[in-house]
Amino acid sequence: MPHKLISRALVYGVLLLAACFFLAPLYVMLATSFKDAEQIRSGNLLSLPHSLNFEAWTLAWSSACTGTDCRGLKPFFWNSVIMVVPAVLVSTLWGAMNGYVLSLWKFRGSEVMFGCMLFGVFMPFQVVLLPMSQVLGWLGISSSIGGLIVVHCLAGLAGTTLFFRNYYASIPKELVNAARIDGAGFWRIFFRIVVPMSTPIVMVTLIWQFTNIWNDFLFGVAFSGADSKPITVGLNNMVNTSSSVKSYNVDMAAAVIAGLPTMLVYVLAGQYFVKGLTAGAVKG
């Protein structure tokens, strides 16, 4: 059956092409990061490095200079970690509680409230930059990691609420009624019955929020101070302010370091992401 064979080959060909297209930049970044300056100058962009040279990586991590500050990406990386972990956890838990109320404890006006929150999902965040900086100023947490955590929690809340509300909408109301008759209250029902049913959507939300917050540049550049810049801002500054010759190997290593955590999260938890997005009704 040559006809079938040709169509097969075509499908694989297209897939292979797409894979190359998306993987090529990663390859160039990794390959370049292991080359020394000499090889970069003389060689081809796509050529393999002559040897595995980790010098650029150590430089990028701990001693590359941004202006006069030569501490590498390390301080920015930790800033991001300190910012991401609480922001992701708080926005996920908060979204879960919102979704719980909006789908299982509906009240007069709760649908309108949900509609307003949905608006937040589509709102361009540039709109809130100025008012947000005002608010952070009043709260006394501008230019701090604490301020960034607050901003990310608020900005992510619309999305996390949407995720949880839609997931919880498939939980039958009878389950809540049964628990009420059994003697469980609002919080007991949430933590003992609803949260244990939420694993797939929690994974989706954690990955989603982690990626968004880790990769954020806008809030990072707008609301951070000298000691609280997240890694995206640190990377940008490092790459853009090199005073002398461009050291592409260091830049590439730095970029890979900045992107590594999100890649790791996908590799480790990606299966839950797909499962969670496709999980429909909660059977039981």
């Binding site: 039958p172 009624n177 009420r180 008759i181 059994d182 244990p196 039981g284």
Partner: protein
């Protein structure tokens, strides 16, 4: 243990004042301790709403609910000392069967040892001891139903509420669980209220039946009352399968109250009303095929069910169903005579459908 239940003047109105829908229109029912009350009616008749009001999941717009002498309107469901079995079972999917059964006890801070003992007792009673470690998703429909019953039984409440608990089961299991519920009720003696739209369940389980329609209580009585002396044509046709035959006619205008004149014949029955359109209600088992009878018609359908054969006869006064022996020789197209058993005749007013006493 068993408590009385007193439902007094319950009204429930949904929606805004300008376009309100009255789902329950002043319902009054008294349930004695240990009784098994059935709420039956078509979907949308308000029976489930009434059950939710008893449970405290919804508040009535007006009226009182008293459980064991205590007015519970405004009291949260958990403090009404009730247990409920839901149509979808509503088992907690992330908990084991044992945890499901013990959850209400745990919420009431019953010590673990005592809880485990009670779980074991209930599991033995329902023959689900071997399933205690499983999750609800690993159970069959019938097993889930048993767990749902176990969860309700565990706490030994004052009042059991059932919301169409058997409607998700296949026919064979339904019969089995129906007997099981009856057994458990006689064992525990706990006052129960059971919502169903299935008249067989209503007849077999109930010590009393409340037939509802459009938010109005049509009749409240023992299964025997409801079946033999229906309060109106709605109850008469809702309960019983095949349904009760209704034949319109009137007493002889000449003053002979011992003749009921219908289209195409005169029946030798004592009719209480000379009004035209008075309805005679006769169950299929109270009619017989009789060759020599003057009331005649043509057989249009013969339905053998095994134990009985139902013969549908088209008469001038309408179509009637007759229960006959399985060896009946009636064939479609036969001309047959019909005979009614006078002592089982029911009479209803033509317009309102209300029962006429004789």
């Amino acid at each position: 243990m068993a408590a009385s239940l007193h439902i007094a003047g319950i009204r429930k109105v949904f929606g805004k004042p300008d376009k309100a829908v009255e789902v329950l229109k002043r319902i009054d029912i008294d349930v004695a301790p240990g009784e098994f009350l059935i709420l039956v009616g078509p979907s949308g008749c308000g029976k489930s709403t009434l059950l939710n009001i008893i449970a405290g999941l919804e508040e009535p717009s007006e009226g009182e609910i008293t459980i064991g002498g205590r007015n519970v309107v405004g009291v949260p469901p958990a403090q009404r000392d009730i247990a409920m079995v839901f149509q979808s079972y509503a088992l907690y999917p992330t908990m084991s069967v044992a945890e499901n059964i013990g959850f209400a006890l745990e919420m009431r801070k019953v010590p673990k040892a005592q809880r485990d003992r009670r779980i074991a007792e209930v599991a033995a009673m329902l023959q689900i001891d071997h399933l205690l470690e499983r999750r609800p998703a690993q159970l069959s429909g019938g097993q889930r139903q048993r767990v749902a019953m176990g969860r309700a039984l565990a706490r030994q409440p004052q009042l059991f509420l059932f919301d169409e608990p058997l409607s998700n089961l296949d026919a064979k299991l339904r019969v089995e669980m129906r007997a099981e519920i009856k057994r458990l009720h006689s064992l525990s003696g706990i006052t129960s209220v059971y919502v169903t739209h299935d008249q067989i369940e209503a007849m077999t389980l109930g010590s009393r039946i409340a037939v509802m329609k459009d938010g109005v209580l049509q009749q409240l009585g023992t299964p025997d009352d409801i079946y033999r002396r229906p309060a109106n044509t709605y109850v008469a046709t809702f309960i019983g399968s095949p349904t009760m035959n209704l034949i319109a006619g009137s007493a002889d205008a000449g003053g002979d109250r011992h003749a009921f004149v219908i289209e195409g014949g005169v029946l030798p029955l004592r009719c209480p009303s000379p009004a035209a359109g008075t309805l005679l209600g006769l169950r299929p088992e109270h009619l017989a095929l009789a060759d020599q009878s003057g009331w005649r018609g043509e057989v249009t359908l013969v339905e053998p069910t095994g134990a009985d054969t139902f013969v549908v006869v088209q008469t001038a006064a309408g179509r009637v169903t007759v229960r006959s022996a399985p060896d009946s020789t009636a064939r479609v197209g036969d001309q047959v005579g019909l005979q009614a058993q006078a002592e089982h005749a029911n009479w209803f007013e033509g317009g309102s459908g209300v029962r006429l006493s004789c």
